[in-house]
Symmetry: C2
Amino acid sequence: MKLKKKERQEKLKEMIEETPFITDEELAKTFDVSIQTIRLDRLELSIPELRERIKHVANNNWNETLKALPIDEVIGEVVNLELDNLAISILDIKEEHVFSRNMIARGHHLFAQANSLAVAVINDELALTANAEIYFTRPVKAGERVIAKASVVGHDKKRTVVEVKSYVNSEVVFEGKFHMYRTTERKS
Amino acid sequence: MKLKKKERQEKLKEMIEETPFITDEELAKTFDVSIQTIRLDRLELSIPELRERIKHVANNNWNETLKALPIDEVIGEVVNLELDNLAISILDIKEEHVFSRNMIARGHHLFAQANSLAVAVINDELALTANAEIYFTRPVKAGERVIAKASVVGHDKKRTVVEVKSYVNSEVVFEGKFHMYRTTERKS
């Protein structure tokens, strides 16, 4: 049953607060209205679009500069970066990313997004992956938007452990723990 | 000190028998002669070139047909395939595969070669990676040739474990254990 506008807008606001990475498409489906209606709701409620919300989530400065690699070598679009702490990127899954047979995203593209983000978050001129444990927790289809969050969770002198979780809407689709070599000892 | 031709050819033959994946470049370096000399040695000794040797190693029929994906979706060139048993592929590392800064191959390309080979070896219409543990054991540089060997090492009803080892010459550069979903139960 469709909700009345006021009720819908209240629930919409709540839902976006709880799961800020939810897309307009997903919201439209949830409330059984058109995407255009959701956009108008957001406008009236002054809720920015997804991309802006993501940038906002981690009280983003994004003034930091990638150290370990040039930005165009990151797979996906980096929307947030705090070196040696947190990085977020967006990858839109297109036809070139999927198996032709079933339109499911190929593992190495999700891996590439996560792994390059794990490199990007390192505050060092050289960062290389030593090893990783990875989990593909649900298939991703063409047309879906994958948001990867890389968090630095541990250090010893020459290794940094980076955890990456990738989401479609609020569902985890990929998880990885990356053990990264770095050349220099961490200043802390 | 350079060896005499006859001595060199004897040692060359031994070396190729021991490490069949060794390249002409590597042999030239070892014996301190030109690559052209190695080629002539091989001709005189009737030792086929590397690509042919690789095809030969696993008493290759390679009459088998990939089930889980079309051949052009495998990253690297498949040179051997025995479904649900063994697959081998070659990937030449070029400039597009490396970090611009240090010419070291990016992890996701080695991963893509290994992972797509793990898919290819599965005798099923659908194979998806569930999870994996992976190790990058030494950096690979532009110009190097990576030979990946995928072996099926275990099964339960709906999962198949595939181990992949990737080599440059006789050195292991990547190791991975891939746990693969398949749609149908294995006939055995």
